[in-house]
């Protein structure tokens, strides 16, 4: 009821202690097309749905290589995502230049989060309208982080963001316990299955999705369409049987490391 009075400025608190502009920015993330990420002990896979504006146009680039050991998938305002990717690339290059070693992923996401926080505390700025799934490999292992427009960041075993991401999250929640020891190819397969959940009925083909992998001995790279289509074809036959199960099952038994649901009263930023 009081939302409209306190939502003009990012620097205005609501009586309930919320910053509505920041929450609206998180809404923008939910409007973007889906992006998912999952990790094992040695590999991380990022995937996204390619949504084109019209049949005549090409789709937007949503997965960016940041460095040999880090990549990012975005959902929301892709322009904001591009700018943040450029920032991340710069930070990695500068760190490498100074220390002759790759920037630890944990450091990068904190810098990103701090950058996002600045926009929540300046009256002349607006929050970034993009959620980032940062996948990276460093000395401490494989990591997958989610960076919010609010300036919060969380580490995940698997996560999905963007429109219809709940379907993918449900699939991931069912399967995530197997991810740690999964092989690289199984991880990619799971990523494709998770993407298929967000398509809800539409056929899964390599032209509607993009997959990227980073892992031990494997620098970050986007898989080419041919390889992706081969993997889809390989499991489509098996997938046919699993299809009905995935759609019917709505159990939210095991949750990923941070809960994903936002109740009416709880401010989404706190989750």
């Amino acid at each position: 009821m009081f939302r409209n009075q306190y939502d003009t400025d990012v620097t205005t608190w609501s009586p309930a202690g919320r910053l509505f502009q920041v929450e609206y920015a998180m809404e923008a993330v939910k409007q973007g097309s889906a992006a998912i990420g999952l990790r094992s002990k040695t590999h991380i896979v990022l995937g996204c749905v390619n949504k084109a504006n019209s049949e005549l146009s090409s789709h937007q680039k949503k997965i960016f290589k940041v460095d040999d050991h880090i990549g990012v998938a975005i959902a929301g305002l892709t322009a904001d995502g591009r700018v943040l990717s450029r920032y991340m690339r710069n930070e990695c290059i500068n760190y490498s230049f100074t220390y002759e070693s790759p920037l630890p992923v944990g450091r990068l996401v904190v810098q990103l989060a701090d950058k996002a926080q600045v926009c929540t505390q300046r009256s002349w700025k607006r929050p970034y309208g993009v959620g980032l799934l940062v996948a990276g490999l460093d000395e401490s292992g494989a990591h997958l982080y989610y960076n919010c427009p609010s300036g919060n960041y969380f580490e995940y075993q698997a996560f999905a963001i963007g429109s219809r991401s709940q379907a993918a999250k449900t699939y991931l929640e069912r399967k995530f316990e197997n991810f740690t020891d999964a092989s690289r190819d199984d991880l990619v397969k799971d990523a494709l299955m998770a993407i298929r959940e967000t398509l809800q009925g539409e056929t899964l083909k390599s032209s509607v999705c993009t997959i990227a992998v980073v892992g031990v001995g494997e620098p970050f790279h986007i898989l080419d369409q041919g390889t992706v289509q081969q993997m889809i074809d390989a499991f489509e036959i098996v997938g046919e049987q699993e299809g009905p199960d995935a759609a019917a099952g709505q159990e939210a038994s095991a949750e990923p490391e941070q809960g994903a649901g936002a109740g009416e009263g709880v401010a989404p930023m706190d989750i």
């Binding site: 290589k65 450029r86 690339r89 710069n90 290059i93 500068n94 490498s96 230049f97």
Partner: protein
């Protein structure tokens, strides 16, 4: 009080020589591996050659600290280029970048004498030669460093290409075969090591052709 002079210099010369020769479909870049200061040898096994891009290699003699800083700078710029263009920099593009980078420090130069070698976009060999502040030229062959005064006249004699000012425009690249060019480079360094005290120990040869990059070593006089 008369005007004070600095009692130290920010520069040092670590000696050594570099050579590059361009062929029709290959490029040979070579440098010795001796690093010295004054009359002292710091190490017999230091590479002056750096791969900047897939088909572009730079050899630099002079002050190796400045050379190292320059190499790191170019490598970082190349990474940015790759992110923005989704492809590697071509040799001519890298040549221009190197020139701009050097001139940027026109008033506190990189004490680095460079030769850039590689394949251009058509796969033909190209060599670019520089001074310390970025003046550069595309040539068929070049040498830099302490032995260049001994090496260059010999290369002129063996490889002299027609002047680039003549018309019709003639090819600067040597008609020699790859193996012959490598042999020539080995001969040239063996000769330079005889008289130049800063050149010797080992010769590092890098050959770029359509198949990729190949590295070779040859022993030189150690005195």
């Amino acid at each position: 009080m008369p005007k004070q002079q600095a009692n130290w210099s920010p520069y040092d010369n670590n000696g050594g020589s570099c050579v590059a020769v361009a062929g029709a479909d290959y490029c040979v870049i070579a440098a010795d591996t001796r690093m010295s200061t004054g009359y002292i040898i710091l190490t017999r096994d230091y590479s002056k050659i750096c791969k900047l891009a897939d088909k572009c290699v730079m050899a630099s003699s002079g002050f190796q600290a400045d050379v190292k800083a320059l190499q790191k700078h170019l490598a970082a710029r190349h990474l940015i280029y790759q992110h923005q263009h989704s492809k590697q920099m071509s040799c001519p593009a890298m040549a221009q970048l190197l020139s701009n980078t050097l001139y940027y420090k026109r008033f506190f130069p990189y004490y680095s004498f460079n030769v850039l070698g590689g394949l251009d976009n058509e796969g033909k060999g190209c060599v670019f030669t520089y001074d310390a502040v970025g003046s550069y030229e595309k040539v068929g062959y070049s040498s830099q460093g302490s032995g260049s005064t001994l090496i260059m006249p010999f290369l002129d004699n063996q490889l002299k290409s027609p002047s680039p000012l003549l018309l019709p425009v003639q090819d600067a690249v040597t008609p020699l075969a790859e193996a012959e060019a490598v042999d020539l480079v080995k001969t040239v360094f063996a000769s330079a090591s005889e008289r130049d005290i800063y050149t010797g120990d080992k010769l590092e040869i890098v050959v770029i052709n359509a198949d990729g990059i190949r590295r070779e070593y040859m022993d030189l006089r150690k005195d």
